[in-house]
Amino acid sequence: MKNLKQSLAVSLWFIFLTFPLMVVKVNTSDKIVQWRWMNILWVGLAIFLLSFVWRHALARKEARQMAAQSGQDDLNKPTRIQAMLEDQKLRTRAMFALLIVALAFPWVFDTYQSTIMISALIYVVLGLGLNITVGLAGLLDLGYVAFFAVGAYSYALLNHHFGLGFWTVLPVGGILSCLFGVILGFPILRLRGDYLAIVTLGFGMIIKVVLENWSDFSFGPSGIANIDKPSLFGLKMDIAASTTYIYYIMIALVILTVIVTGRLKNSRIGRAWIALREDEIACVAMGIDMARTKLSAYALGAFWAGMVGVMFAAKTTFINPASFTFMESAIILSIVVLGGMGSILGVILGAMILILMPEYLRAFSEYRMIIFGAAMVLMMIFRPQGIISNVRQKYQFKGLKEKTENV
């Protein structure tokens, strides 16, 4: 009964809240007011039902937290998926199966599906790159798309002016972007947390403005067209073949990224990044050079964005500054956070969901973005650690005891 009353109150509140925007529609030039009274009903009904679900979900979440606090249920207890991941045998098998699916994909599905998949894979690499900066080193970067743009423009311009091929520019783009990361990193090393966020956001916007205005360099807002697709021994490929080819390059790039970031994560440098994220002061007090660690995190994050930027330019064959907006940075950041900060598998899943969801939601194209926004909020509320939370590596060791026994 109490719940019923509460839900009623909530839905009345939302009817009030949405009244001017949902019900009234004025056309000032024709002097017509359109009253859409039915919308009150829908809003009221929807909110009434949703408030039950909401309360139930919140209560469940709280119950879990309480249990965790009183020690009955360990929050860090590996979930079923994580437990499965721990199992070496299962893991190898799963990876093998995944690889087969990935390799077979373009033959099973049509070219369009492959194109979409390429887009998603591009975001996987972007997510993994940003994961280094944000997820591991804890440096909030809201202008990550700038590095993506550096890569894309490197290829577009080098290809346009000097006819350099995709394979030549792929590392070059990565390295240029890396350098850019270091240059950008220097002045903002001293900044903490949210100051960093706004400055990086500013850098992202500055890049776009420069690309738009400096026409002699970047061809301005009209962009660069007819960028060469990746070549394969000079073969001429039709659209399906070249899509498949790009798809495989992307798969290779993703595998490379996963291996490299995976190894970095559990290396001396990766541990330093995480330590930096966890506690800056303790980190430096333990002998870690903060400037070098921060810069390396920036540069490596930027490196992947640059590489995949080259890929993006090659895939789209046309780029202009409009592709590198703040929204892109926000989406990449969301991939990292939704997927699970620091977790490689999580970021991959996050990218797949965030990029594929809007594509397949095309049926509701108008409602796509609003669902996207709502999903972000809900995810954060009910699963803030992301889809798959990060698990640290467990080590096998020989200690003193074993050693002395052996002697």
Partner: protein
């Protein structure tokens, strides 16, 4: 114990630290010698932690000299050096309010301490060559041994945030020891520990000094612990040093008693 034959490791002269108009540390002289366990005591707010922060490079002192004399290496003045430099030179610390890396495992926390003593770079981490793998294995084993020494080996793969309080303090000590210091600064290592844990800590600190040849400077409020293990005690009040001496000398020093009267009565 006579200091004459022992080498001085840390020498602080006239250290002063101002925060705005407040003088938190006022021309302190202090030194720690090889094989010594020294304690820095004083009422709350006396400036002990600020002293630590100055010495370890977290704050840059307003005036004074901080000299490190590593064995067999030239003397270094470390005023205003970055904390990581100081640690690399051989002086490591723990924190009053525990500063572990909560989302890393216990073992990894200690492995962080190995950072400045190892050298695998990006390429090594990515390619995982023989040298990198060997070094990594050494890091793991070294760290695990340290965990055994502080009695945390069974928790090696737990997240450090899940450890009980006393264990977290010991983990901080292990982490600091992983940097292979010649001098260890402990900021209230016994805070929040029960009597049994404190007794264990007592033994641990002595073992560190005797077995690892690490000198120790500690801030502590637990007088029993301080009196038990210290070779030398320095007493601070209102930023100034008011006394130095052996435990017995300090116990009878009227200035110290006066400074502590309120505090002791409360405790």
């Amino acid at each position: 114990m006579s200091d004459t034959d022992k080498q001085v490791l840390l020498e602080v002269k006239g250290l002063t630290m101002d925060f705005g108009g407040l003088r938190a540390v006022d021309s302190i002289d202090l030194s720690v010698s090889e094989g010594e366990i020294a304690a820095l005591i004083g009422p709350n707010g006396a400036g002990k932690t600020t002293f630590f922060n100055c010495v370890t490079g977290i704050y840059t002192p307003t005036a004074g000299d901080i000299l490190l004399h590593p064995k067999g290496k030239p003397t270094r003045r470390v005023n205003g050096s970055k904390p990581n430099k100081v640690t690399t030179l051989g002086m490591a610390r723990t924190f009053q309010n525990i500063r572990l890396f909560p989302d890393m495992t216990v073992l990894e926390n200690v492995m962080i301490g190995r950072h400045c003593r190892t050298r695998t770079g990006l390429t090594g981490a990515i390619l995982r060559g023989a040298a990198a793998r060997k070094e990594e294995q050494e890091i793991v084993e070294f760290s695990y041994c340290l965990l055994e020494k502080v009695g945390l080996d069974e928790f090696a793969n737990e997240y450090s945030k899940n450890l009980p309080y006393g264990a977290q303090r010991r983990l901080e000590i292990a982490r600091a020891m992983a940097t292979e210091p010649f001098l260890l600064l402990l900021d209230e290592p016994a805070a929040g520990m029960n009597p049994q844990e404190t007794t264990d800590l007592d033994a641990l600190i002595c073992r560190i000094r005797d077995e690892e040849q690490i000198a120790i400077l500690l801030i502590e409020h637990d007088m029993k612990l301080v009196m038990n293990i210290s070779d030398k005690i320095h007493v601070m009040e209102y930023g100034k040093k008011i006394a130095t001496g052996t435990p017995n000398e300090i116990k009878d020093n009227p200035k110290v008693i006066e400074a502590y009267l309120g505090e002791e009565a409360e405790a």
